[in-house]
């Protein structure tokens, strides 16, 4: 039992050190490139990845957020109605969506949609020797392949989070007017009164963090694939599971930190 625990801890530490190594090497390759007065990555690749991460994920983020917002408002409203506090639905839903649900659901959508795609793509390239070929040409595989992907997900996660928050609140407002007799005007006034800039900032900061976590885990898992098609499959599953787990755990730590230091 202790031996198994020790082996698992060792394996976890090795994985973490490899991820840190990948991040350091990528940063160092970018530095070398800038020092040589060359662009650190191709803008064309960055925009391609942005389109994939951002535009491609918008429908799913909107759909999911509208229905989560709608359900949240409905269930909260029915509970608060017992105490005659149904008017608290707009602040409760908007604050929790901005601080928690928006970034978290966006993270989960991106981990499963984009993280899986990154890992599968880089995994297939690794298994097919394409990554070695890029490295062998002297191009710097980490810089060339990892940088545009991580930058794209880092920049686009906050944007998608804002879309998720707006969609969730609109979904909540719709169901509130339909079933809880809360008008759109009242809902809007309540949101404007209770939703603070720090709630928005908290969500945005978390979304940056989640984007980085998903991008780094997905790229690392893809580049460390061993064993052909089966290896790519395993790495993709592992990438999604690891990214979602790390996003949820880091979300909890973020909440503790924010509530403690920015009450």
């Amino acid at each position: 039992m202790i031996a198994k625990l020790g082996a698992a801890t060792l394996s976890l530490l090795q994985e973490i050190s490899s991820v840190v190594w990948m991040g350091r090497e990528t940063a160092s390759e970018i530095g070398d490139r800038i020092a040589a007065k060359r662009a650190p990555f191709r803008l064309e690749d960055f925009f391609y990845q942005c389109n994939r991460v951002g535009v491609g994920s918008v429908p799913m983020v909107i759909l999911l957020s509208v229905f989560v917002g709608l359900t949240m408002a409905l269930l909260t409203g029915y509970q608060l109605r017992i105490f005659g506090l149904v008017t608290l639905v707009p602040p409760v839903v908007s604050v929790s969506f901005t601080r928690e649900m928006g970034p978290l659901f966006t993270g989960i959508v991106l981990a499963s949609r984009i993280g899986a795609a990154y890992t599968a793509e880089l995994g297939a390239m690794t298994a097919g020797g394409e990554v070695d070929a890029i490295e062998g040409m002297g191009i710097g595989a980490l810089r060339y392949l990892v940088t545009p992907r991580i930058l794209a997900i880092l920049c686009l996660t906050p944007c998608l989070t804002i879309i998720a928050v707006i969609s969730g609140i609109l979904g909540a407002a719709f169901i509130s007017s339909l079933m809880l007799q809360i008008s759109f005007g009242f809902f809007y006034d309540q949101v404007m009164t209770y939703l603070l800039v720090k709630d928005l900032m908290s969500g945005i900061v978390k979304s940056f963090l989640f984007g980085g976590i998903i991008g780094i885990i997905a790229c690392y898992k893809g580049l460390s694939v061993r064993g052909g098609a089966v290896g790519v499959g395993k790495a993709t599953t592992s990438s999604v599971v690891t990214a979602i787990t790390v996003v949820i755990v880091s979300d909890s730590f973020c909440n503790i930190f924010i509530i403690t230091f920015f009450p």
Partner: protein
Amino acid sequence: MEMRGVNFQFTDKVILEGVNFAVRDQEVLVIMGLSGGGKSTLLSILMGLLKPNAGAVLFKNEDLTKLSRPKLNEARTHMGMVYQNAALISSMTVRENVRLPLEELSDKTNKEIATIIDQKLELVGLKDARDKLPSELSGGMQKRVGLARALAMEPELVLFDEPTAGLDPINTETIDDLIIQLREKQEVTSIIVTHEMESAFAVATRMAFLYEGKIILEGTPDEFRHSAIPIVSKFLSSYSNHDRAKE
């Protein structure tokens, strides 16, 4: 290019042990050996993709194992590698594959790059396939595109990993002719790892035999043919018997 006392091992398994050899300008050095004997590992070490546990890899008077990453990347621009499976970027067309090193590593204009792509694809006889994806090409064509990509930066040294493995005789001859042409017309030095005896003798100016992690024979093709080393003569006769059986 020179390897001096190179040792390489994966965990407990020794792959290369004290490997020494040198290749002179415009030579075609063919390295042969048994399957799983470390020939491809040797090429990866020459490219700086793997770091040996001991020894030196000298290229243009610099030890590749001790170079910083930017200098190693710079050294790699003077080498080209043709991989066993071609290793073309599957999401890019033939043209984009050849353009990749030029776009990333040179200061050439788009017009100059386009000219070089056309030249290299013409050299390997694939100018018409420039807009195709690697998946739309045959194995032989993929290897020729791999060669065009390896030649894009005008390297002084080209490394070939099993360039003719799995190809039909006509494609094999095309690749062999290209290797000879590179040496004769473009003064390129080549190191080739292969099992294909016929190709090896067709292109080699010198040959080496890797066995149990060591170079046990290095010499001209003639010296190789008449070698008295048991494993080398057994290797050669197995191939001759195999060829006779096929006839």
